[in-house]
């Protein structure tokens, strides 16, 4: 019974088995045509039976030439960690221990979000190891388990294909896309070029001492370091730069509205990328960064840390957070942020302006927080809302939608103004400019010495 069950599985449902190819079906169709034409003159059951049996057994011979599972050895090489929207190569090494050459096509058990085209009809010569490569394009962040590798082998004749499945468990992390971060690290000033913000090293009278350098025309004469000038017989001036060691707390909303689809990825995706770029900017500046991801509950917490190594901690903690189908609990997140951040810090909340603004009782908390911390909310501009405001109404429903969208927009403007009056800025940026906006806001805050 068990034997029968395994045979049944093998044929139909499980991962291994033998499958007739199109070539076999074509050959058989030709055979049918021949028999069919012959049957107009001559028909006998005996002849039909014998011819069919003969043909089928002839075709089956090829199935016995297929390799055994042990004769083919397979290995997969894939990066443990890759960035979203960053193309990667995966290579499959196939070692053929038999004396025959086979044609192979493969499917890997990678998640559907790793967009790829699997190679097919690759030749594996006898006694050799072949590396077959294919490119993946990960679309979704997270931790993925890649296990099964499906192979279909056929002989040179190619009438039957043998499907063999190998278990090659491997864990792959897809971390947020760091291209914005890399751009920032390459040249911070270039990155912020369009924002028109200068990363100033000094504002007269504030900041901490950085270094002594030669005096150039235009420097503030009040900052001439007379003692040093006397020593080196040249005019030297003191240079100051904004204070280091400030605290930045990043809050990441993972609530329902963050799951909204954008042209590329969803809001959370973009927010995470912006948050990481902001974290890099702050870390590079010598500030302490802590990150809190939340929805209904606190989902992930990175306590404050310094230096670019801290970025890795942040990445490893938040790389697999996902959108929850729940409303965000802002009060909880803010309370939590206060509890882990006793010192004055800049709290940056990445969230959806609509949801945040619609909850009136937030303002009460915010006013309390503002006494100690510097708060800013960053949201992604709703393109769909803009499109709906501008669309041409052609039915009652679309006119209604339009008017509701307009009302919502007006409301939003009013709420943002109200909050700004209380010193709580809310910024909205297009999805692709979110990271730039957050970083430039941070630098502006530093430049103005507000923190």
């Amino acid at each position: 019974m068990k034997r029968f069950k395994s045979l049944w599985d093998r044929l139909l449902f499980r991962d291994k088995g033998i499958i007739p190819t199109y070539k076999l079906i074509t050959y058989y169709a030709l055979f049918i045509l021949a028999i069919f034409i012959l049957s107009f003159w001559q028909f006998s059951w005996l002849f039909l039976g014998i011819a069919t049996l003969l043909m089928v057994s002839l075709l089956i011979i090829d199935a016995f030439l297929l390799p055994k599972e042990e004769d083919i050895q397979v290995d997969r090489t894939i990066a443990d960690e890759m960035e979203r929207y960053d193309k990667q190569m995966v290579s499959i090494h196939i070692k053929n221990r038999t004396n025959d050459t086979f044609t192979v096509r493969l499917r890997d058990g990678i998640p559907a979000s790793f967009q790829t085209i699997f190679p097919f009809n690759q030749s594996v010569s006898s006694g050799k190891t072949v590396a077959i490569q294919y490119e993946i394009f990960p679309q979704i962040r997270g931790k993925f388990m890649i296990d099964k590798l499906y192979l279909r082998l056929k002989t040179k004749m190619g009438l039957w294909e043998k499907q063999i499945t190998y278990h090659l468990p491997q864990e792959v992390k897809v971390i947020p896309n760091l291209s914005e971060t890399k751009k920032y690290l390459e040249s911070a000033q270039n990155y912020l070029l369009h924002e028109g913000i200068k990363i100033r090293k000094m504002r007269s009278g504030v900041g901490e001492f950085s270094k002594v350098r030669s005096y150039v025309v235009g420097d503030d004469p009040r900052k001439i370091n007379w003692r040093q000038s006397a020593k080196v017989q040249d005019m030297m001036t003191n240079e100051y730069e904004p204070e280091h060691g400030k605290n930045v707390t990043i809050l990441l909303d993972c609530g329902r509205m963050m799951g909204v689809e954008l042209e590329q990825g969803n809001r959370l995706e973009k927010s995470i990328e912006a948050a990481i770029t902001l974290a890099v900017a702050a870390l590079q500046n010598g500030d302490q960064v802590s990150v809190i991801a939340f929805s209904k509950d606190i989902k992930a917490v990175v306590p404050g840390g310094k230096g670019l190594e801290h970025l890795n901690t942040i990445l490893q903690t938040i790389y697999d957070i996902e959108v929850d189908a729940q409303e965000s609990n802002y009060a909880l997140a803010l309370q939590y942020a206060q509890s882990i951040q006793r010192k004055r810090s800049m709290i940056v909340l990445f969230s959806d302006v609509q949801t945040f603004a619609n909850e009136d009782h937030q303002l009460f908390y915010m006013k309390k927080i503002r006494k100690k911390h510097l708060f800013v909310m960053l949201g992604i501009e709703d393109r769909l809302l803009q499109a709906q405001i501008k669309m041409k109404p052609d039915s009652t429903l679309s006119a209604m939608e339009k008017s509701v969208a307009q009302k919502q927009y007006i409301n939003q403007i009013q709420v943002i103004k109200k909050w700004e009056k209380h010193g709580l800025p809310m910024l909205e940026a297009p999805a692709d400019r979110l990271a730039v906006t957050s970083v430039s806001h941070y630098i502006e805050t530093l430049n103005r010495g507000m923190l």
Partner: protein, 372 residues
């Protein structure tokens, strides 16, 4: 060359074949179709055939169409209704030549232009009921099986009748005659000796007058009655059937095997930012809150105009649109005046109908486009 497993499977298959062949050739009684002359089974006609043969009649059986002889008696027991008209015509010509055909069939309607009608007999009895049938004044006790009776013409000679109607008639066709009997069962080995069946048969059939008595099996064999299922269609049809099954198995096998992992559909998790907005809009439409909607649009327009031209909120619509004069391209000053007037009017009204709502929405949108 083959593994141990292959051998075991092969042996099992071989044993299976032996078992199947033993079962398929075991000593079950031979099956005879009904009304066959050689058949000794209760449904066969061997009794009457042998009797006639032993008593000096010239009896034979034929399984071809009749040749044109004379003075023969041909017995057709339960033939199928001929689909081919030429066969029936052939039989009719045969009668016209001076031969006699005895047609024994439970319902011969449609054969040789015969018609039958249904009778209301007491059929719901489980016990077989005998009836008194009348043969030219003589009363016979018989067992009727047929639910129909023959419709007779004036020319027909009714041979046997009961209360319900004619059971057997004779019809003159050309030089010969056609004798129709509704009870083929009386001829069978099982029933021939029961009641007065034997007497009835010998009364009906003119064995004495005929030179030859022929039991016709053509209609039972050639026209489909005895043909096996494997000979019914032309050879190529069977080739297509058998090979079609095999290639279908191959194709299903090829198509049905899964290659690669199973992926759930992604669309399940996609959401859009205008869900809330749509819900409110549908609710507003159902509530016919047209006036509120127009107010929203006007509010937005106010804001847009303020952003563009710096006209403050507290101005009335007339002032606002009057100040816009000369800045618009597609809307004339006069039109702007009209619209301002209209806006004042609809703002003061409590409700709007659908037509007004749509036309005002379009007008407001036109100004909005102009401003932006």
């Amino acid at each position: 060359m083959f593994g141990k497993k292959t051998w075991i499977i092969g042996i099992i298959l071989f044993l299976l074949l032996i078992v199947v062949s033993i079962f398929s050739t075991s000593n079950t009684p031979e099956q005879y179709p009904a009304y066959l002359v050689e058949s000794p089974s209760p449904t066969g006609l061997k009794a009457i055939y042998t009797y006639l043969d032993k008593n000096g009649y010239d009896v034979s059986k034929e399984d071809t169409l009749p040749t044109m002889t004379k003075e023969t008696l041909r017995i057709l027991v339960n033939p199928p209704v001929f689909t081919d008209q030429t066969i029936e015509n052939h039989y009719l010509d045969y009668i016209r030549e001076g031969n006699t055909i005895v047609l024994a069939k439970e319902n011969p309607d449609g054969l040789f232009n015969l018609e039958t009608e249904y009778t209301m007999t007491e059929t719901f009895n489980s016990e077989p009921q005998t009836t008194e049938a009348d043969y030219q004044g003589e009363t016979l006790k018989v067992l009727p099986n047929s639910f129909v009776r023959l419709v007779t013409n004036d020319d027909d000679n009714v041979l046997l009748e009961d209360n319900a109607g004619a059971v057997a008639i004779e019809r003159e066709i050309g030089e010969g005659s056609l004798i129709v009997l509704l009870e083929p069962a009386w001829l069978t080995n099982e029933h021939i000796t029961e009641y007065d069946h034997t007497q009835a048969l010998f009364n009906l059939m003119p064995f004495e007058e005929s030179e030859k008595v022929i039991f016709d099996e053509y209609s039972l064999t050639a026209s489909g009655g005895l043909v096996s299922h494997f000979g019914l269609y032309p050879g190529w049809a069977y080739v297509l059937l058998v090979q079609g099954i095999i290639i279908t198995i191959f194709i299903l096998w090829n198509q049905g095997k899964r290659f690669g992992p199973i992926y759930p559909v992604r669309e399940e998790t996609v959401r859009l930012s205008n869900e809330r907005l749509r819900a409110i809009a549908i609710w507003q439409t159902k509530g016919k809150n047209y006036h509120t909607s127009i107010e929203y649009q006007l509010e937005y327009l106010k804001e847009v105009i303020r952003q563009q031209y710096g006209i403050p909120y507290h101005h009335s619509w007339k002032e606002r649109l009057a100040r816009m004069e000369g800045k618009t391209e597609t809307i004339s000053a006069k039109e702007l005046g009209h619209i301002a007037q209209g806006i004042e009017t609809i703002s003061s009204r409590k409700s709007l109908n659908k037509q007004e709502y749509l036309s005002w929405s379009a007008k407001i949108d036109k100004i909005r486009e102009e401003v932006e």
